[in-house]
Symmetry: C2
Subunit: 298 residues, 2 copies
């Protein structure tokens, strides 16, 4: 049914639905402590490509997922993602002033508030998923476990730590890939699998296919990020461009060069499509998202 919509219209409808869900799931801005709640909403609402929510909905559609359940999973992932950006932008990390075209949280508020916003958003993510009233507990517990695993030291935080330790060090391609599999890949993979888990039971083969798709899309996402950091301007990106080279960080572009990085992104896009073969036509949205991730300009 939603398969009939043109991709842009489908994407817009999911983004609008997720924005509404986030606005209602985040604590109201007048609730005490008001400044913290305002800053949490400033961080999460009104911006972002919502890539993780789109993956949840695209994957969930393959398994007849309930929309309310997909919204919970999508919002939980987006809260984790948003908190990681806030902490990543802080002076002791990347020290960035601009995010999604707006001043970063520690600039708009202060560092202590940015720290607390991130901490509170992480808790809010787990609460958002645990509070689901449409998913049975036996379904929710593995989803909460997957979210925690993807967010923690075996996932996103672990990737951040490797990233920190690799500044000024000549990583090889395998090490760079491993870092990104954790830093951004873990949460993207969780988005695809959580979307599927909100629907009917997955077979092992389906889980493997989605895992292969996620790996390809996760890496493609990062390769394109590196290409954009090297080629686009800050106004287009909505964040500071050229940071990687300035920070002496290893990237796909610095290791492979620009042309080979662009070829790699295209190869990963084909890998993502190939992984979806078992799902046939039904996987249209996931294929379109792989295309979007590779072809995006910001």
């Amino acid at each position: 049914m939603t398969q009939m919509l043109p991709f842009a219209a489908w994407m817009g409808s999911v983004q609008a639905e997720v924005e509404d869900a986030l606005a209602s799931l985040l604590p109201a801005p007048h609730l005490v402590p008001a400044k913290l709640h305002e800053a949490m909403r400033y961080t999460v609402l009104g911006g972002g490509k919502r890539v993780r929510p789109l993956l949840v909905y695209a994957s969930g559609a393959l398994f007849d997922a309930d929309r309310a359940a997909m919204a919970r999973a999508a919002c939980a992932l987006e809260m984790i993602h948003a908190y990681s950006l806030v902490h990543d932008d802080m002076p002791c990390m990347d020290d960035d002033d601009l995010r999604r075209g707006k001043p970063t949280v520690h600039v708009a508020y202060d560092e202590a508030t940015a720290l607390l916003v991130g901490d509170a958003l992480q808790a809010q993510a787990f609460q958002t998923l645990a509070d689901s009233d449409t998913l049975a507990p036996a379904r929710l517990v593995p989803m909460l476990r997957m979210l925690a695993q993807a967010a923690g030291s075996g996932g996103m935080c672990g990737g951040q730590a490797i990233d920190l330790d690799s500044v000024g060090i000549a990583l090889n391609l395998a090490q760079l890939e491993r870092m990104h599999q954790l830093k951004t890949g873990a949460l993207l993979r969780a988005a695809v699998l959580l979307g599927a888990m909100t629907g009917t039971e997955l077979t092992d083969a389906q889980r493997d296919a989605l895992g292969a798709y996620s790996s390809a899309v996760g890496l493609a996402f990062q390769v394109v990020d590196d290409i954009l950091d090297a080629t686009a301007d800050s106004a287009t990106l909505g964040k500071t461009a050229g940071k990687d080279a300035a920070g002496n960080k290893p990237t796909y572009v610095s290791i492979l060069g620009l042309a080979a990085s662009q070829a790699l992104a295209q190869q990963l896009r084909r890998d993502a499509h190939d992984a979806l073969a078992p799902f046939g036509e039904q996987a249209l949205r996931l294929r379109e998202l792989a295309d979007l991730i590779v072809q995006r300009k910001a």
Copy 2:
């Protein structure tokens, strides 16, 4: 059975059991990213009074709780507590160099690592509880929900935010109490209730009694903290003494004076005992913990 042990021996056995459980639940220090995992273990292991775990075990004992389940809940709470200390000690918050008699994480490592240690520990807390293999999903989901609620902007992070906003402001007693109910009270209350929830089903009356006990103990904990900050030295506390007065922070001592604060702590201890009346002799450990919290010297 454990009721027969003298209090100090019971406390020692719980502390040892929790230390072992934490050591096995935290990622091994050789796993990549090794520095992050080492720093997580530096933060959590080998220190702390383990007040929240003690409350879990004392409360769980009233409801025939399974020890493995209590260990999960205790470790999850202790990870949340430990992460909050790491972030609270950072330069943008309290800027403290000493914690549990050791250099704080941002001093022993660096600020970026301290930020990530806290973030990863929060995820690890939810993973620790969600990974329980002795608690049914229908039991786990409300526990995860309670943990998230106690940790987030409606609990600990919210209390931190109010604390930040109250520096240099003359809070009245009710406002100070509200701040502490969130900042430390929410997690102590969660400890008491999560301990109980690992065992047999609670009646509403039992839940109310435990809630009243938690409120009294939570406030007593903070009143005594304020008394110790004003009267003890840094070597005894294992953290910097006199920070509140130096930071112009409202405390029970600054509002009520020392003598009235001491009287209040004693009154709260009696309130905690009174709240336990419905449990009779069985609540010995919870009574002893209320005494410990009020009579502690560090």
